[in-house]
Point group: C2
Chain length 240, copies 2
């Protein structure tokens, strides 16, 4: 598959401690698949500068696009923007366009635009801003790295701002066929079918329902005709 590739980096102690269940990886995975961008890896790391810098530098070289989630708010544990600057060897400082956006926002709310809030206007040199229609404080794109908030409503809004600017590929099509038999009963013929269609990703996802075993067979490809042909063959092997 020659579609563009992507990685997601989820940043935050609260994810790794089990306190918070991340929702952004799953959301973005679906969005990327629809856009024809192949998600190759998701990585979740703590609020640790060296770890974040290393991960960003590894992923931005191995994938066409990187998306980060978390750590761009006003508090002391929000270190992502500085880590991105460090990863690129770029300077970082308060930027006027981001500052003005936030200044106007807090004036409208009659809230003090204090030093902590001004941290959210710190953007690495050379980045472009990602619009945040929910809470104004912008994300930013630094080369192929898109830096977004961790709060799901804000993350989702930023994804909506960024995705149309990216070059996608042929959408990855997916068809699912449900078989009410245990995986062990179908694995042999299914493996032969997978060998016959090496360009189609064929996954088997077992389930139990009311004490009965079954499996959903999911076929994925950017080629609609081949996908249809393989699906017809699968249905022939295991009639409903």
């Amino acid at each position: 598959m020659s579609n563009p590739t992507a990685a997601i980096l989820i940043i935050g102690d609260e994810i790794l401690s089990g306190r918070t269940r991340d929702a952004n990886m799953h959301f973005l995975a679906g969005q990327l698949t629809e856009a024809g961008i192949q998600l190759k890896e998701a990585r979740m790391v703590p609020d640790d500068r060296d770890v974040i810098v290393d991960a960003v530098n590894t992923l931005r070289k191995s994938c066409d696009y990187v998306f980060t989630s978390g750590g761009i708010g006003p508090t002391h544990d929000d270190i992502t923007a500085d880590c991105i600057a460090a990863a690129f060897g770029a300077n970082i400082g308060v930027r006027k366009d981001a500052y003005d956006l936030l200044d106007a926002h807090y004036k409208r709310q009659n809230k003090e635009f204090n030093e902590a809030r001004q941290r959210m206007a710190r953007i690495p040199d050379g980045a472009t801003l990602i619009e945040n229609p929910v809470s104004i404080a912008p994300g930013f794109t630094m080369e192929n790295v898109n830096v977004m908030a961790g709060v799901p409503s804000v993350f989702e809004a930023m994804v909506a701002s960024v995705l149309p600017t990216l070059t996608g590929g042929a959408p990855l099509l997916s068809q699912t066929y449900r078989i009410n038999r245990g995986e062990g009963d179908i694995a042999g013929p299914l493996g032969e079918l997978a060998a016959e269609y090496p360009e189609i990703s064929i996954g088997s996802y077992p389930f139990t329902e009311n004490g009965m075993f079954g499996a959903n067979i999911v076929m994925r490809s950017t080629d609609a005709a081949k996908l249809d042909a393989a699906m017809v063959k699968l249905a022939g092997l295991f009639p409903a």
Copy 2:
């Protein structure tokens, strides 16, 4: 913190395509925190042999424990056991104890113990089995790598089998304090408190509720007395 460290490797195309939302990372994260084992990284990768082997070899060297989820069933896309063997340079073959467990299980169910199902008895040389009370097919532990099923009910049962065999540390204690003010209003004093207690991890997790901003401040430490002291100070800074 000198507690043992861990990494989780979630294996499966269906996670990265957004078809399936992983539940195992979050479950295990909570279990490890309770056991005093510090989760340092979670990584999600596709059903790709080279990627899995690389990830296993990286993580097993950087952490005390590795846990994998997914890819140990009977179908062609279940390649985890072979990848673990390759990562350790170990042979893999059908092992008698695993074979006997499965043979008895399928006899009881009057199901054929066919070649596909026998694949689930393939265990790398030198591994010990992890009991699976749900669907019998065992996981296994190879040195510090614990290989478990992706189906959440089975994964959770395997975690229950494995965790008591591991050496944990002092449990990571956590206290949460809710502040009904925006992060930007509290970030200054909170940052000073974090600087005063460097051994305590202090995270700020913003929320909005009925249009009002707030933040949950979570403090984590293995030292109950220090945690209490910091929490008293926090409550003094931001009285309810």
